[in-house]
Symmetry: C2
Subunit: 458 residues, 2 copies
């Protein structure tokens, strides 16, 4: 009999007033409108490290949710992912007040050239001493594309072809340009870096031409820990080839189980170990010392859920305007194309607008557990053991109270059950995830771009 | 008789081992190779705030100095502005440990789309509570242009035309998109932002098309404090139209005086007050409690100056390879075009390579003062009073010792003379600079893009 698997927990947040649960920014305990302040982020980081979480992941969009009603008005009224500030810039301050916590940021392969993006991530990996992850996003809101001068989004599959080459450029810069011992920094030899060990990448591809060397010296992890969340077929293939962790959403365990199994199979096809990816499943928690208090808290939160803000978000995710519907009208008129991703996630597609608002208001694309610490821990354990996921991506219902409650109440319960770390492992974020060092394994496609001391790629 | 002008001091650094003085990273006291660590930056910020400096400015290049010898080898050996990490990412950590210090970063109008850059700067202005400045750069190293897929740099003047439109897009986003009272954040009204007061900028220009709203809510300064350093005729015009502070380099006071006077005249032409720009002049200091100790320290530093690294930097600045020259060979073969900017700065152009290495090794493009605190303060006072500059841009000879010495020894001396603040003014960086609030004045061209409560531009 093997020991029960440790459950990983990642805090999921966004640099904006409303991330996934609309309306709860109005709770008296909510700190949502402090998102602009450094103290919001340093406090959150301290809480998550106190709770021995793996990391904080910061979502991002470069654009506004303007599908609902055909305008950004509803999004603005609810602070629904707009206004939204840059996620990378809060990481250095959080790193300064923590020692072990990881930091993930979302960034699209469509908004910044890989040459400059590579340096930005290397800088973060240096400053955090190897605690940075990157959620690779290829898609983005249509409104964002328009604002950088693109008339329409690049077709979905082509976007992934561009992303594949984007990754290749990054791997060459991160893994191939500087040999491990290129930086000498020896005053006696009057040598900071040995030019013989720093190589121009000479990338001349279909979408990018990058002849030169990487601007940053090797950082602890080189390539940041790679996350991905694509749920399309092409997106899953991309994840299987690149990602070390994925975010998955599913309201029912059998759907998640199928997706997890599918992904692990794809990893084998890509020449990797099926457990080379950690799966984080969307989850939200309303917990209190007693079941009655938890129900009371849930009711208080539920009363704050804002229908409009919820539909603004769902209209954006579906790419379909839910504004003309009455609350109890079935969504039978929604074209199949728009509902496809939702059908995949929720099974039968028989939804009313009220289902989105009331049923999904707390969990977005995952389950929501309410109860005392034991009940919540039961549900989390059951979810993890049934689905084969490695951990949960903890959404907040009310920030930062949801995280504080989880750390104070659920973490000790999971620890008592032997399902949660009681101290951090040493090392970088990647080392904490897989326990085999800071670098990507040799089976990862990035490894083929490494240069070895002889000077040529292996 | 008016009170003597207060002298402003800005610390000038870069996220790399060697900024302006090559070879001194080898000094036992140097922390140059710690540039990758957060502690380097938080310590520097604390020192500068202890010394009541205006701010820390972080230079940047996106490319390598590969003119010398036609390769980046010399730059790598000396750590001469390569490796170089992103400057913006060290700001949030420095902001977290300070209250008044300003932070300036260099960023080019050629490497990032204004829509995403606007959000990055707004985020910094929020996180620092209005303490951020931006050094607007239009030029960059040829090697950087190649690595983002450009075959050659855009012609110099055209670059400024693009930059003018880039600024227009930014002003619309920063000043025009959100009215002052657009963010309500009122739970009782269930209203985070009032859509009636958030406006798409509908920019449809020659180089950029940005139809949408700014993604960030109004930050304390809106537009960050604007710096510029261009010394060409077109660059000076750009500065006169946009900048609130400029960096100027000159080895002799009469040259700086002429440039300062010229700039103030150009401001009047642009409809601004001649003192709407603060001029910071490059300066370096080697100071010790006694003159003898200072001379000893200077001699120790001088012995560390690395000829190759110095010539790597100068070859890059001149765009002309100094590698084939003997140390004492006059530079008479340098084409006039390459020497033009240097002739402007240094007067007669009769230089040998040794002049660059020995005469300029400490000061880069400004004077260097050595002595006890009184002697150094004399030289700074004299320099400021003769040239009409507002302050000095303090380069380090050895980091961070040069800053620590300045704060411990020179600041108290200038304070005794009534030439240096003894406490910080309240308010944002712009307010500390001009004492008239956090926003750009109505005479600045950005102001024409503001919307007033009526909803239309004034």
């Amino acid at each position: 009999m093997t020991a029960p698997r440790q459950i990983r927990v990642n805090a999921f947040d966004m640099n904006c007033p409303t991330h996934l649960v609309a309306g709860t920014w109005r709770d008296p305990e909510s700190r949502a409108s402090e998102y602009k302040d450094l103290a919001y982020w340093t406090d959150l980081a301290r809480t998550c490290e106190r709770g021995l979480m793996d990391g904080i992941f910061i979502a991002d969009v470069l654009g506004v949710y303007d599908v609902f009603g055909g305008s950004p008005d509803g999004a603005l009224r609810g602070g629904a992912q707009v206004p939204v500030n840059d996620p990378a810039l809060v990481v250095p301050a959080m790193a300064a007040v923590t020692e072990h916590l990881g930091f993930g940021i979302t960034a699209s392969t469509s908004f910044e050239h890989p040459y400059t993006f590579a340096r930005r991530m290397s800088t973060l990996d240096h400053l955090t001493k190897g605690r940075v992850g990157w959620n690779i996003v290829t898609s983005y809101l249509e409104s964002g594309a328009r604002n950088i001068g693109l008339d329409a989004q690049v077709r979905h599959d082509n976007r992934y072809d561009i992303a594949d080459e984007y990754m290749e450029v990054l791997y060459k810069l991160w893994e191939g340009s500087w040999e491990d011992d290129a930086v000498v920094a020896d005053p006696a030899r009057n040598l900071y870096a040995d030019p013989e060990k720093v190589h121009p990448i000479e990338h001349d591809g279909t979408y990018f031409k990058v002849p030169g060397i990487h601007l940053s010296e090797p950082s602890p992890q080189r390539t940041p820990l790679l996350y991905q969340a694509g749920q399309s077929n092409r997106g899953k293939r991309f994840a299987a080839e690149h990602a070390e962790a994925v975010f998955m959403g599913a309201p029912r365990p059998e759907i998640l189980r199928a997706n997890v199994d599918d992904l692990r199979g794809r990893l084998v096809d890509a020449g990797r170990d099926p457990h080379d990816i950690r799966v984080f499943s969307s989850f939200s928690v309303v917990v209190a010392p007693s079941a009655a208090e938890a129900e009371e808290k849930r009711e208080r939160y539920r009363a704050l859920i804002d229908p409009e803000g919820t539909l603004v978000l769902w209209s954006g995710w579906l790419g379909y305007d839910l504004e003309p519907y009455d609350l109890d009208e079935p969504l039978r008129h929604v074209p199949n194309e728009a509902m496809q991703s939702t059908n995949e996630i929720f099974g039968d597609g028989r939804w009313t607008v009220r289902d989105f608002v009331e049923g999904l208001g707390f969990g977005a694309d995952g389950p929501s557990a309410t109860g005392d610490p034991a009940a919540v821990a039961d549900q989390i354990e059951d979810w993890i053991d049934t689905t084969g996921a490695d951990g949960i991506n903890l959404n907040h219902v009310v920030t930062q109270q949801s995280y504080v409650d989880f750390v104070d109440l659920v973490v000790p319960e999971l620890q008592r059950r032997g399902r949660y770390r009681t101290t951090y492992e040493e090392g970088t974020l990647r080392d904490k995830f897989f326990g085999r060092g800071s670098r990507l394994p040799d089976t990862h496609r990035a490894a083929r771009h490494r240069r070895h001391p002889a000077g040529a790629p292996a």
